[in-house]
Amino acid sequence: MNNLAAPPVPEPSSNWMAGRRNGLVREIGTRHRPRVSRRLALSGVGALAVLGAATVAVLVAFAGAGVPNAFAGWSATPTTPTSGETASALAQCTSRLASSAGGRSGVPAGGWQAVLTDTRGPFTAMILRSPGATATCLSGPSFTTTQANAAQGGASQHVLSNGSATAGQAPAVSILGLGGSSSGPITQAAQSQLTTGGGQPYTFVQGQVAADVTGVTLALSNAANVQATVADGSFVAWWPGHATASSAHLTSASGVTTQQLAFIPLSPPTNPTP
């Protein structure tokens, strides 16, 4: 045998391959299982992401109590909603929006229509519109969170409201504005980092893309990928945790391109309005 020629090694048997593969998947699946929070007192905190100027935005977050893992069943790719899931989420969202309407917020009490719906297991994220206002909503088995943006005069401000007034982390809000000067199919996007029941954080991204874009997959800072729901030039995605979107892989008829995302952080409001 030639000294530097590779010595033959027998192929592992198919039994060995299947057994070790299944063992590996089971092993990491066990380690991957999200931790269960025993906290019962939940808080809702939120943040406002303002897209464009001259808007007043109000965020109201509500969290249910007694649910150990708020994000159980979440999926990195959108799923098909079960029967009645979307209608139920829409009812939850519009109810929350109605309760946060009026006053200086300028949020309309009614007239909301869902323009984009993203389903991930038992969770439904929505972008809604009403005359003069837009909103996002995330509804799950244990909480419903809404963010409303209402055009009002020439001012641009955001107001935070804690749904249950219990302790929660300060929200972080970051906005990406790429319109016009930057090249790339994503013309604008907003990223919000929020915390819901039991101090469990999640990150929400919404934005606008060129009309010919049919798919958006966000690459996160933790090396995970999350596929967004895309329709009519808008996209929305969210995921548990603090990881942020660092780039987007965009699919259109001409192929797949990658766009780097640079979010500009905004300071969270210092005096939340209850």
């Binding site: 530097l4 020629a5 057994g19 593969r21 063992g23 998947v25 933790n222």
Partner: protein, 193 residues
């Protein structure tokens, strides 16, 4: 599963954070190469089986701190396999409980023929390893990655975390050191430009 087969290693690597089956597909793709490398690195087939599992457990443990370069995870996995083989006692100790559970998943169905083939392969491995044993460890590692596992010089550099020129010189020195007893070398290295 078709959905996984269409995705490159980088996509599977990132998806593994929330989808263990994506990591299972990575195992399916690269476990044979990792096993062959581990066997040639250690000269012990049984040990190589356990080290292969350890490599993937290590890869999963470190998945969030590793950004894959290129489209294949193999260079990084073989680099990990090299480190695991170098520190095999510590690596095996760290994953002992998991290995025990994973071994229980394997149904042994080897017959007499397979057992004989395994003994033959084990013997051939021992002979081959004896021949390169007199090389310094760095050269042996380079030979195992480039000449025995088919990595390009660039991929081996990635696996070993050294410059490409270092890999080239280690291979060249290994060839020179063994020159006296060598037959003419076939061109079996894969170079990527």
């Amino acid at each position: 599963m078709q959905a996984y087969r269409d995705r490159d290693d980088g996509e599977l690597w990132r998806a593994a954070d929330t989808d263990p089956e994506a990591f299972g597909e990575l195992f399916e793709r690269h476990a044979r190469a990792v096993f062959a490398f581990s066997a040639r690195r250690t000269g012990d087939l049984a040990l190589a089986e356990d080290l292969t599992s350890v490599v993937f457990l290590e890869a999963w443990r470190r998945r969030s701190s590793v950004q894959l370069q290129g489209t294949s995870a193999l260079p990084w996995l073989l680099g990990t396999a090299n480190n695991v083989a170098r520190n095999q006692r510590r690596s095996l100790r760290r994953h002992r409980a998991a290995l025990s559970r994973m071994s229980a998943s394997v149904v042994s169905a080897s017959g007499e023929e397979e057992a004989i083939a395994r003994v033959d392969a084990q013997r051939a491995l021992s002979v081959a390893l004896r021949e390169i044993e007199r090389l310094p460890r760095e050269q042996r590692e380079a030979v195992t990655l480039v000449l025995w596992s088919g990595l390009s010089y660039e991929e081996a550099a990635l696996a070993l975390a050294v410059p490409v020129g270092t890999v080239r010189s280690r291979i060249a020195r290994a060839r020179t050191a063994l020159e006296g007893s060598l037959a003419p070398q076939p061109a079996i290295t894969k170079e990527s430009s």
